[in-house]
């Protein structure tokens, strides 16, 4: 199929599925877009495409800055805001010949698990549950996931802070990948929680995800957390020295087999493991004991950073401002922020502000050493989660001290239990997508539980993919959803291996 044909089909779907509310802004001048795609077609015919994604239509989550579309983060506070610059990832996509088809809907500033907390209204999933009930598309990159699953674009960028790419990919039956922290530039990505935020890719298959990832990967001097070339080559060396003959060693974390896991999910997980075993790969049980605290730590750290990052939205320099008086003797930004932010964002700002201030031992205006607030405690748990992962992966963590990145010492210690594994395999979410109806009666805490399997990899900065696996087991034909998101987690920097295993399952 020509690129032009494909683009026209996407634009057709854009019209057809407008009611799904996947986009908050999309292409206005279709002629101009198609002209550009024609140029790509011409390049392809000459055998000189700019890249494998030359001429493809890519959707961008609306918390990633674009020069030519407004960037709203689905928030009232950025109503009509036009960023004066393109994010590095957007620039890189365009340099690769791809065309930005529009900006996708999301949970405001990325805070949510069902894409319902949007100033533009909820995103609707293409799939429906029993009796045609509306299902959650997952969040916060729900718009990107639905745009992909309904064929409105070739692939989409999302952001993943605690599972925001993997969860909607899982709920929408597509592939969603979160790279190792720092591989893809965050310059121009509106921060939710800087130390966790990553740009991820959503597409229908692994190959497409990889194509897009290759286009946006790379060191960016404008992002202070971007992994520099020297570290990248160190990681590459480390991977190259790994013994790569023989079967994969797949770890199954016992802590993920929770009571709340729905039977369909558990059975599909089991089936996937059996499939890999039948291909000759080895399955090992592993233990990640800090997992049980990971979710709590995440919901301290992420809101704390969010409360800080969102302090800039005051209506003074950009964005929306309330008409109420900003008299210097009054409360300057209260009205603007009250009206601009949605409920979930306000909840997390409050939570974050509280956890940063609670129980800080403050003497003499300077903190004493024994600072004891929730934020600092949660950081310690985060470190434990990372150590858990490091203890089960064969590949040492390239960001740890040089001595520990010695492969020889990473060999399994026969005296201490199980051998080390290449990747971990577990579900992306404990249940199938819930119905929208069922969400309304629930507390915010219930929504947070959806992130329980995705958050640990985020805390440790690890690469992780969610892959749709045809669901099996009792009732799988009754629920209206025919796939389950299976997650593969790799050691830091081992993104390629995650794809290798994912592609085995995909086949």
């Amino acid at each position: 199929m020509s690129l032009l044909r494909e683009a026209e089909r996407s634009l057709g779907n854009l019209q057809k599925f407008r009611s799904l509310n996947a986009f908050v802004n999309s292409v206005r001048d279709e002629r101009l877009l198609l002209d550009r795609v024609k140029e790509s077609d011409a390049r392809r015919e000459l055998g000189k495409p700019k890249s494998p994604i030359d001429g493809r239509l890519i959707a961008i989550k609306d918390n990633i800055c674009t020069l030519h579309y407004p960037t709203t983060c689905a928030s009232g506070i950025l109503k009509g805001f036009k960023s004066p610059f393109d994010a590095t990832v957007v620039k890189k996509l365009q340099d690769s010949g791809a065309t930005i088809v529009g900006k996708t809907n999301l949970d405001e500033f990325g805070m949510g698990s069902h894409s319902t907390h949007s100033r533009f209204g909820a995103v609707k999933s293409l799939q429906t549950g029993p009796n045609g009930k509306a299902l959650s598309p997952g969040g916060s990159s729900g718009g990107s996931a639905v745009a992909v699953s309904s064929g409105q674009c070739y692939a989409a960028l999302g952001t993943d802070t605690g599972g925001s790419v993997r969860l909607p990919a899982s709920y929408c039956g597509i592939v969603g990948f979160k790279p190792s922290y720092g591989l893809v530039s965050r310059w121009g990505v509106v921060a939710y929680a800087n130390s966790l935020d990553t740009v991820g890719v959503l597409a229908r298959d692994c190959k497409t995800v990889k194509e897009v990832l290759n286009a946006i990967d790379g060191y960016d001097p404008q992002d202070p957390t971007s992994i520099p070339a020297s570290t990248r080559s160190r990681i590459a060396n480390l991977r190259a020295r790994r013994r790569r003959v023989g079967p994969f060693r797949i770890g199954v974390p016992a802590e993920y087999n929770v009571e709340e896991l729905s039977p369909i999910i558990r059975q599909t997980w089991l089936k996937t493991l059996q499939h890999l075993q039948s291909l000759g790969h080895e399955i090992y049980p592993v233990s990640l004991p800090a997992t049980q605290h990971a979710l709590s730590a995440y919901y301290i750290l992420a809101p704390a950073e969010a409360s800080s990052n969102l302090a800039r939205y005051d209506g003074v320099r950009y964005g929306a401002r309330d008409n109420a008086s900003d008299d210097t003797s009054g409360v300057l930004y209260a009205e603007t922020r009250d009206k601009g932010f949605g409920e979930e964002v306000k909840r997390r700002i409050l939570l974050g502000a509280y956890s940063l201030s609670a129980e800080v031992a403050d003497i003499d205006g300077l903190a004493c050493r024994a600072m004891n607030n929730y934020f600092i405690q949660a950081q310690k748990i985060r470190r434990l989660v990372q150590q858990d992962f490091d203890s089960v992966f064969y590949l040492p963590n390239p960001l740890s001290s040089p001595s520990s990145s010695d492969l020889a010492s990473a060999e399994a210690d026969p005296a201490h239990g199980s051998p080390k594994v290449d990747v971990l395999l577990c579900p992306t979410a404990p249940t199938l997508p819930p119905t929208i109806e069922s969400l309304s009666g629930k507390s915010p805490l219930d929504a947070y539980v959806n992130d329980v399997f995705t958050v640990p990899a985020s805390l440790a900065g690890l690469p992780a993919i969610s892959l749709p696996v045809k669901s099996t087991g009792e009732g799988s034909d009754m629920c209206g959803v025919n796939s389950v998101g299976i997650q593969i987690i790799g050691q830091y920097g081992d993104d390629e291996l995650v794809f290798d295993v994912a592609e085995l399952i995909e086949e």
Binding site: A87, A193, N194
Partner: protein, 593 residues
């Protein structure tokens, strides 16, 4: 109302980061005019009869001990901002140096500009601090329109340097009660960002200039070890002098480059510990409840605000009240501090390590290098200026005055002029005439230059209202004048004439001397005696007073008359005096007391 100013990236340097739409500058404040007005207001305030700060009643004051700690914020001398490549600037058009991150645009990230460390390290080393190998940046949260991100990036948990000290001497202007010297501990030095500038347009418009946002600052925190207002002012003055000497901070307080917060407490001298004075600050125990006075922008304000706050606290305590821990303000010219916010209104800054910025690692080699290459400090200057081994031989008072003038520029000027005069003399050859180190003219070059730089030049600058930065007399011009004078090629009167000529005459000194025929042609003994006779002849009574009544003081009058009546630039005062004394029989010049 607040005007949304969205100008960005107007300078080349700032433009480098991204290309984007240039947003129309809404603000139209004539910034230069604003600065001018500010300076004018300052001059008016300075000129005015200074408002009296009430001094505490002597006896009450004796019963109470004052304790003061100071936080100094100084703008570092750097070309870039702390976290962007936008240029630092002082009075460029508003919002012409603002990178995306400076205006806290969504998606923009800070990049620590490593070279800003250099002046910060110089300051830390000059103030005797231990530089930490690893320091980190934290976010300090509070809402204010001049704080675009809603937080200031500072160093809270792991500052750049700690545990330094500053020694203040009597010549630094400390209170007499402090004796010859007092040592004040520096608790820590941290790097942080400056805020935006608010330009008030009455009645209710506030315009924001983001040029200053993220200008690198250091905050220097002293221990509460100061007990007199004058010493506190001397401390800030000396910190400024040190920062200036090591090129860490160039703009002084008068230009807003340095600001100070002080915390003030008093305690009764005879009160045993544990009775109402349980406060402890920075490890200093047994202090009274303190208050903080923010944003003092002159040395005078530091001293006056502390005096006023001390008196207020004593009054409250003596009336049986208690001091509330609160933040107070002080306006130049006011007589008392005023409450800004109480404890209940205290901001919880919710410090958080900045998740975008990694730690700053400073190698020992860098610290060593900076330590080795540190320029001399003001105390070193003082030693150099007052000792004879470096030939300046200045009186301590003159040395101190020179050091404290014009942010240290005056002393540099002085030294360069002196060095040049000495060189001129030592290299002088005219037939057999040459000068050695021991020659009186060479020995006295330092003192003489000091006089001229402070008094003659200082006087001319003051009367013409010329600020030091616009001093029209270059170093070599003054050196030239003083060399000619030392060589007795011109008279003192001629030298003074030349100095004032230089205020608007661009010709080099030798050319002026030649063209205006100012070279001293020494008068012969006969010519001198003739001139002296001429003066004495019409003034017999004066002659008698000297000769018969021994009124030696009147000799000077005769000399003056001779200089006035003689040909301009020919009568050397010393020679004239010698002749007058000889003729009137009142001993040698050298006998004069």
């Amino acid at each position: 109302m607040f005007t949304t100013v969205q100008a960005r990236f107007l300078c080349r340097k700032c433009l480098r980061q991204t290309t984007g739409r240039r947003v129309q500058l809404i603000s139209t404040v004539p910034f230069r005019k604003h600065l001018k007005d500010e300076a004018k207001q300052r001059r008016i305030n300075n000129g005015k009869a200074k408002p009296k700060v009430p001094t505490a009643r002597g006896s009450a004051n004796e019963n109470w001990e004052l304790t003061v700690g100071i936080e100094v914020h100084a703008q570092l001398n750097t070309t870039h901002k702390l976290f962007s490549e936008a240029a630092t600037s002082f009075n460029d058009p508003p919002n012409s140096h603002v990178a995306l991150v400076d205006a806290a645009f969504p998606g923009a990230q800070p990049i620590f500009q490593k070279e800003t460390l250099i002046p910060a390290l110089r300051a830390a080393i000059a103030l005797g601090c231990n530089v930490h190998r690893k320091s980190e940046f934290d976010r300090k949260h509070y809402f204010y329109w001049d704080q675009p991100a809603g937080y200031q990036i500072t160093q809270y948990y792991h500052p750049l340097a700690k545990d330094g000290f500053i020694t203040l001497y009597d010549y630094d202007g400390i209170a007499p009660e402090d004796g010859k010297e007092v040592r004040v501990g520096i608790k820590q030095i941290q790097m942080e960002q400056d805020t935006a500038k608010t330009l008030h347009q009455l009645p209710s418009t506030h315009l924001l200039d983001f040029n200053r946002v993220s200008h690198p600052l250091i905050e220097i925190i002293t221990l509460p070890q100061i007990h007199h207002p004058a010493t506190a002012a001397a401390c800030v003055r000396k910190i400024q002098a040190i920062l200036n000497a090591v090129d860490a901070a160039v703009l002084g307080m008068e230009l807003g480059g340095l600001r100070a917060d002080v915390n003030v407490s008093v305690r009764h001298r005879n009160q045993p510990e544990g009775q109402g004075v349980g406060a402890e600050y920075s490890g200093v125990k047994g202090l009274g409840q303190r208050t903080e006075i923010k944003n003092l922008s002159s040395f005078k304000a530091v001293e006056d605000a502390i005096k006023a706050e001390r008196n207020r606290q004593i009054d409250v305590l003596e009336a049986g009240g208690i001091i509330e821990g609160e933040t107070r303000g002080w306006n130049l010219g006011s007589t008392g501090t005023r409450k800004l916010r109480g404890k209940e209104g205290e901001v919880d800054y919710r410090y958080m390590p900045d998740p975008d910025l990694g730690p700053v690692i400073v190698g020992k080699d860098l610290v060593d290098y900076i330590r080795r290459s540190l320029p001399p400090l003001p105390d070193d200057h003082f030693k150099v200026l007052t000792s004879s081994d470096r030939h300046y031989n200045l009186a301590p008072k003159d040395a101190k005055t020179l050091i404290n003038l014009d942010d240290g520029d005056r002393v540099e000027y002085y030294k360069n002029v002196t060095d040049e005069v000495r060189k001129g003399l030592l290299n002088y050859r005219d037939g057999s005439r040459s000068y050695a180190e021991s020659d009186e003219a060479v020995v006295k070059a330092g003192k003489m230059t000091g006089n001229w730089v402070l008094h003659e030049l200082g006087g001319l600058l003051a009367t013409s209202g010329t600020p030091w930065e616009e001093n029209p007399v270059g170093e070599s011009a003054l050196a030239s004048i003083l060399t000619f004078l030392s060589l007795k090629k011109i008279t003192g009167t001629t030298a003074k004439t030349l100095l004032s000529l230089k205020f608007d005459d661009p010709r080099p000194i030798p050319q002026i001397i030649a063209e205006d025929d100012l070279t001293l042609r020494p008068m012969s003994e006969e010519e001198l005696r003739g001139l002296a006779n001429e003066v004495m002849r019409g003034n017999e009574r004066m002659v008698k007073a000297v000769k018969e009544k021994g009124e030696v003081g009147k000799v000077g009058w005769f000399v003056g008359q001779m200089v006035r009546r003689g040909v301009e630039g020919r009568v050397e005062a010393r020679e004239a005096e010698r002749v007058v004394r000889e003729m009137l029989g009142v001993g040698d010049v050298g006998d004069r007391k």
